[in-house]
C-alpha cells in the first residue's frame, strides 16, 4: 500500500512537471448558482409541484394537519399497507397518524433512537421491519422547488432506509420548508449549526421522484431498487 | 451601399487555393477570384503555394508539417488578407501554425501574424467585407453542410448560412444533420473506410429526408467525399462549393452535378 506521503509526493511532482499555466483560481459561483432556474417571486410550492409531478412523483397540497393525516391514511389503505415504518419527527407526531393508520389495519413502527446499549438490537429490528415494510413515511429537511427535490438528512430518528427500502414512500413537508434552489438547501444546512460536518450528518439524500432506470432500451421504468412511488404531502399550515 | 462602420473595405487579398482546390476543384478557386473581383477586390495568387500541411499534421508528423508550413509563412508575409476557400485549411493556419512554431520566436511571430490575417471565404465576406448579399441567383433546394473545422474550430456558423439565404431563388432546406461530420477526415476516409462510409451513409440519408437537390459546403474535402458517394449511388444531387453558389448568375461555368463532371 502506498503511504499518503508517497502518493501526494507523486502528485506534487506531476504538478511541477506539467507546469503550464495551471494556477487556476475558481471562485465558487455566487450563491452556488449561475442562473437559478427559479424566477424571482415565483410561487415556489406551485413550481415544486410541477417539477416533482414532472418526474413521476405525486404532490398533494393540504391545508390542515387533519387533512394531511387523512390523506396519508387513505393512501396507505389504497396500497394495502400492512407494515409502515416512519421517521420520528415533530411534524409526523403532530399528525397523530399512528392511530389512524392502525385503525386502517396497518402496523406502524417508529424509528425512535435507542440508548447506546440497545442500539445494536434496535438497528437489527428496524432493518428487519424495513425489509418487509410496504410503506415508508418520512418528513423532510427541506424541499427544493427548482427540481422538485426532497432533502432528507440522516439523523437518529430519520433512518435512510425509510425513503429507500419500501416500495412506496410518502413524505410530509410544510410549505415553509420549501426553498428555491439546491444551493439554498445547502445554505440551510450550513446555517443549522457551527460545525459543518455535524450539520451535514452522515448522509444527505436528495430524492427527486421515484427510483428509475432506462437501462433496458432506454425506456423509463420506475421502482427498480428504491420506491416505485413517491408521494409528497405539502402542508400549508405553518409550524407553530 | 454603405461601408461597414469603422473598417476600411479590403482592396487586395492573396488567395490560398489549397491543394485540393488546385488539383481537384479548380472551379472553386476560379469562382472565388471572380466573386472577389465583382466585389471590387483584387486577387493575388502567389504561385509558390502548395498545401497547408494539414495531412502530415493530422497524422502526427510535425517535422514534415513544419517544412511545408514554413514556406507559407514567407509566401504570404506581405498580404494584409489571405483568403482561403476552406474552413479546414484556415483552421490549420490560424490555430495550429502558431503552436507548430512556438519554439522559434521569429517564426512564431510570423505564424501568429499569418494566423491573424487569414480568413475562410465566408467569414471574410461576412465579417471583413461586411456583406451577406453578393448578388447571386440560383434556383434550387439547397442544404448546407457545415464542415467540422469551420463550425467548431473557427466558430463560423452564421456567415455561410446568411450568404446562402440571400442568393436569389434559393430555397434553404437545412438537413437535420447539417452539423454532423460527413466522415471524410482526410486520411481517416482511407484508414477507416467502413466507419467513414457508415457516417457518410447517414449524412446522405439526412439530405434525402430534407428533400435537397443541392448540397453546399465550404470545404472541398467534404464535397469530394459526399459527391463521391452520391455519384456511386447514381443520386442526382448537385454538390457545390459556396464560392460556386455565390458566383452563379455571373459565371459562364455552370455548377456540376455529382453524376456529371
Amino acid at each position: 500500500m502506498s503511504s499518503r506521503e508517497a502518493f501526494l509526493a507523486r502528485v506534487r511532482q506531476a504538478l511541477q512537471t506539467g507546469g503550464q499555466s495551471h494556477h487556476a483560481e475558481a471562485a465558487p459561483a455566487e450563491n452556488g448558482e449561475i442562473v437559478p432556474l427559479v424566477t424571482e417571486g415565483e410561487d415556489l410550492a406551485a413550481r415544486l409541484q410541477r417539477e416533482l409531478e414532472g418526474v413521476g412523483g405525486s404532490v398533494a397540497r393540504v391545508k390542515h394537519v387533519a387533512e394531511a393525516a387523512q390523506y396519508v391514511t387513505r393512501l396507505a389503505k389504497e396500497k394495502g399497507a400492512e407494515v409502515v415504518v416512519r421517521w420520528q419527527s415533530d411534524l409526523l407526531d403532530t399528525l397523530e397518524i399512528d392511530d389512524a393508520l392502525r385503525a386502517g389495519g396497518a402496523n406502524v413502527h417508529t424509528a425512535s433512537p435507542a440508548s447506546e446499549a440497545e442500539a445494536g438490537n434496535r438497528r437489527q429490528e428496524m432493518r428487519d421491519l424495513l425489509a418487509r415494510a410496504d410503506l415508508g413515511l418520512s418528513g423532510v429537511d427541506a424541499v427544493i422547488a427548482e427540481t422538485g427535490t426532497l432533502m432528507l438528512t440522516a439523523q437518529p430518528g430519520q433512518m435512510r432506509g425509510v425513503s429507500l427500502l419500501p416500495p412506496v414512500h410518502i413524505a410530509v413537508a410544510r410549505t415553509d420548508q420549501v426553498v428555491a434552489t439546491f444551493a439554498d438547501a445547502l445554505r440551510a444546512v450550513r446555517q443549522s449549526g457551527e460545525d459543518m460536518q455535524q450539520n451535514l450528518t452522515s448522509c444527505i439524500s436528495f430524492v427527486t421522484g421515484p427510483s428509475r432506470t432506462g437501462d433496458i432500451e432506454l425506456k423509463l421504468t420506475v421502482g427498480v431498487h428504491g420506491p416505485g412511488e413517491l408521494h409528497l404531502v405539502l402542508l400549508d399550515e405553518p409550524s407553530t | 451601399m454603405t461601408e461597414p462602420t469603422g473598417r476600411r473595405r479590403p482592396t487586395r487579398v492573396a488567395l490560398f487555393v489549397t491543394c485540393l482546390g488546385d488539383a481537384f476543384y479548380p472551379q472553386v478557386g476560379e469562382a472565388t477570384v471572380r466573386l472577389l473581383h465583382r466585389l471590387g477586390i483584387a486577387v493575388d495568387f502567389p504561385l509558390g503555394q502548395t498545401c497547408c500541411a494539414q495531412p502530415a499534421f493530422n497524422a502526427g508528423f510535425h517535422d514534415q508539417t513544419r517544412l511545408v508550413a514554413q514556406r507559407n509563412l514567407t509566401l504570404f508575409a506581405d498580404y494584409e488578407y489571405v483568403v482561403v476557400p476552406s474552413g479546414s485549411c484556415t483552421a490549420m493556419i490560424r490555430l495550429f501554425y502558431p503552436d507548430l512554431f512556438a519554439e522559434d520566436p521569429h517564426l512564431h511571430q510570423q505564424a501568429k501574424s499569418l494566423a491573424a490575417r487569414t480568413y475562410e471565404l465566408s467569414e471574410f465576406l461576412f465579417n471583413v467585407v461586411g456583406t451577406d448579399d453578393v448578388g447571386a441567383a440560383f434556383a434550387g433546394k439547397v442544404a448546407y453542410h457545415a464542415s467540422c473545422h469551420l463550425q467548431r474550430e473557427l466558430g463560423v456558423t452564421e456567415a455561410p448560412r446568411r450568404l446562402i439565404s440571400r442568393v436569389a431563388g434559393v430555397e434553404a432546406c437545412d438537413a437535420e444533420m447539417s452539423e454532423q461530420c460527413c466522415g471524410f477526415g482526410g486520411t481517416f476516409a482511407v484508414k477507416y473506410p467502413e466507419i467513414s462510409s457508415a457516417m457518410l451513409e447517414k449524412k446522405i440519408a439526412s439530405l434525402q429526408r430534407a428533400g435537397a437537390d443541392t448540397l453546399v459546403s465550404c470545404d472541398a474535402g467534404c464535397l469530394m467525399h459526399i459527391a463521391g458517394r452520391l455519384r456511386r449511388q447514381g443520386m442526382d444531387v448537385r454538390v457545390m462549393h459556396l464560392a460556386e453558389l455565390l458566383n452563379t448568375g455571373h459565371s459562364a461555368e455552370e455548377p456540376h452535378h455529382a453524376s456529371g463532371n
Partner: protein, 482 residues
C-alpha cells in the same frame, strides 16, 4: 473481458454489421442527444455553467495535492478510513484486505468506472467472494458475462428480448418482455443480496475537499442501498474526482446530470459525510475511501492534463459520429468513445492503443457537448504526434510523408506530380471521377468514387486567364448587412 485495443479495426467492422447493436445505437443517438441539448438550453445560460464547471475542475486539478490532503484530513476527523492506491494492483489489494477483515462473503457493487478500470470483479470472484453488480444495466452485463459498452447506459447494446432471455435463463423466472416485470424480477433478486451483503462498493461522482463528503449520483437507488445496508462501505475514486468546495456542488451536479441524461437532477443524489454516527439507526459502521492514482499522475504531468477534468457523463459518446456507428466495445477497454480514445492510450499505453486517437475525423462534436469543455480533438492530435515520435505510425506512413513534404516544398515537383496523376488516371477516369484507386487508397473507392485530378489545375487557369482579369471598379454587388 475487454476486447483489447489492438484489434480496433476488426472490432469496428464487426460492430458495423451487428444489427441489434446498430438499432441500439440509433436509439441512443435519437434519445440522448436531443434530450441533452434541450436540457442544457433550459438551463438559461449553459455556456456560463460550462465555463464555471471547467474553472472548478481546473482549480481542483491544479491544486490537487492540497485538496486531496484537505479531503483526507476531513475524512480522518469523521472516523472514515482513507487508503491510497498507486496502481490497480494496490487498489485491488486494499479492497480485498478490507473485505477480509470484514469477513465478507457477499459484496454488492454500485456502478463504478474506476472499479471497471482495475478489473475488480474478476479479482474478487477469484478469491471466492460473491460479487453482485446492482445497477440494472451492469447486472444484466454481469449475467451475460460481458463488459459495459456505455458509461451511462452499460447494456445499451442489448435488446429487450436478449435481456428477457437472460433473466429467464439465469434467474429461472418465467420469461417476460414486459419492462415493469423484468425490472421487478431484478429488484427481487438483488434486494435479497443487498440484505445479505457484508460489503458495499461504490464509485464516487464528486469528492468534496472542504467537508470530506463523497457524492453519488444515481437514478435507481442501488448506490444508496450499497452505501446504506452493508456493514462496510468502500468508495473507490480516481484522485481527480475532487472538487474544492461544497459550494461548487450545485453547478457541478447540474452540468453532470443534464449532460448525462438530460435530467435537471438525478432521482438520487447521496452525499455521504463519514460512516454512520453514534445514534443513527442505519448506515455503514465503517466507511473506507480508496483514492486511486493508477496512471493519473502521469496524465497530470503531461500536456493532456485536461483529460482529468472528465466527469464521466457520457455526453461525448452520444454525439460522436464514430461511437454512434461502432458502439463502445470496439474501443476495447473500459472507457469508450472520444474520451476513451484519449484515456485508453493514456492509461494502457499508446503503443497498443494507437488506433484510438487515429480513428477520429477530429470533428469536434465531443468538445461541443462536453460539460467541462475538454478539448478532445486537440488531445487526439497530441497523442498522434506522440505515437509518431515513438515509432508508432502505421507502416509506410513515415516515408510517405517525407516524400510528400519534399514534393510540397517544391512547386515544380508538385506540378509534375499533378501531370503524372493526370496521365496515370487517363484510362480510368469517367467524366471526371475514378471508380477505382490503387493501394493504399483503394479503400476509398470501395464505397465511393474519387475525384479525378482536373484537366487544368487552378494554377494553370490562373496563369492562362485569371491573372489578367481585373476587379470591377465599383465593387458591384455586395449589399451590406447591418
Amino acid at each position: 473481458m475487454h476486447l483489447g485495443t489492438e484489434g480496433f479495426q476488426e472490432h469496428a467492422r464487426q460492430a458495423l454489421k451487428d444489427e441489434p447493436l446498430q438499432n441500439a445505437l440509433h436509439l441512443l443517438t435519437n434519445e440522448f442527444v436531443p434530450r441533452r441539448v434541450a436540457a442544457m438550453q433550459a438551463l438559461g445560460d449553459p455556456e456560463a455553467l460550462r465555463t464555471q464547471a471547467r474553472a472548478v475542475k481546473e482549480q481542483a486539478v491544479a491544486q490537487l495535492d492540497t485538496y486531496l490532503e484537505q479531503f483526507a484530513d476531513n475524512l480522518d476527523k469523521l472516523g472514515a478510513h482513507v487508503h491510497w492506491a498507486h496502481d490497480d494492483a494496490e487498489a485491488r489489494d486494499i479492497i480485498t484486505s478490507i473485505a477480509q477483515q470484514a469477513e465478507a462473503k457477499v459484496i454488492v457493487k454500485g456502478k463504478s468506472m474506476a472499479a471497471e478500470e482495475i478489473h475488480l470483479n474478476p479479482h474478487l470472484e477469484e478469491l471466492g467472494y460473491e460479487v453482485l453488480e446492482t445497477d440494472l444495466g451492469e447486472y444484466i452485463i454481469q449475467l451475460a458475462e460481458e463488459t459495459p459498452s456505455h458509461i451511462i447506459a452499460p447494456a445499451i447494446h442489448k435488446t429487450r428480448q436478449q435481456i428477457a432471455s437472460l433473466l429467464h435463463d439465469k434467474l429461472g423466472d418465467p420469461y417476460t418482455e414486459e419492462l415493469t416485470d423484468m425490472t421487478q424480477i431484478a429488484r427481487r433478486a438483488l434486494r435479497q443480496q443487498f440484505l445479505r451483503a457484508d460489503v458495499g462498493i461504490t464509485g464516487v461522482n464528486f469528492a468534496i475537499a472542504d467537508t470530506g463528503s463523497i457524492v453519488l449520483v444515481t437514478n435507481e437507488g442501488n448506490g444508496r442501498l450499497s452505501s446504506t445496508l452493508p456493514r462496510v462501505h468502500i468508495a473507490l475514486m480516481g484522485m481527480e474526482k475532487i472538487i474544492p468546495r461544497l459550494d461548487d456542488l450545485p453547478v457541478m451536479l447540474k452540468v453532470l446530470t443534464n449532460s448525462a441524461t438530460g435530467q435537471k437532477i438525478s432521482s438520487y443524489v447521496t452525499m455521504i459525510t463519514g460512516p454512520r454516527r453514534a445514534h443513527d439507526l442505519d448506515g455503514p459502521e465503517e466507511l473506507h475511501v480508496v483514492v486511486m492514482d493508477n496512471g493519473r499522475s502521469n496524465i497530470l504531468g503531461s500536456e493532456n492534463r485536461e483529460a482529468l477534468y472528465c466527469l464521466r457523463c457520457g455526453a461525448c459518446l452520444n454525439v460522436c459520429p464514430i461511437y454512434q456507428n461502432i458502439g463502445g466495445h470496439a474501443y476495447g477497454w473500459v472507457y469508450p468513445g472520444p474520451i476513451g480514445a484519449v484515456l485508453t492510450p493514456l492509461f494502457t499505453g499508446l503503443d497498443t492503443a494507437k488506433h484510438l486517437p487515429r480513428a477520429s475525423t477530429l470533428c469536434g462534436a465531443c468538445r461541443e457537448a462536453c460539460p467541462v469543455k475538454i478539448n478532445i480533438p486537440h488531445m487526439l492530435l497530441n497523442l498522434r504526434r506522440q505515437s509518431v515520435s515513438r515509432g508508432g505510425a502505421p507502416a509506410g506512413e513515415a516515408p510517405l510523408f517525407s516524400l510528400w513534404a519534399w514534393v510540397m516544398r517544391h512547386p515544380g515537383l508538385y506540378r509534375l506530380g499533378l501531370k503524372l496523376a493526370r496521365l496515370g488516371q487517363m484510362p480510368f477516369a469517367r467524366r471526371g471521377w475514378l471508380g477505382k484507386l490503387p493501394p493504399p487508397f483503394h479503400s476509398w473507392t470501395k464505397s465511393r468514387d474519387f475525384k479525378a485530378v482536373a484537366p487544368q489545375s487552378f494554377r494553370d487557369r490562373w496563369q492562362t486567364t485569371l491573372q489578367y482579369e481585373q476587379p470591377s471598379r465599383n465593387g458591384a454587388g455586395g449589399g451590406h448587412h447591418e
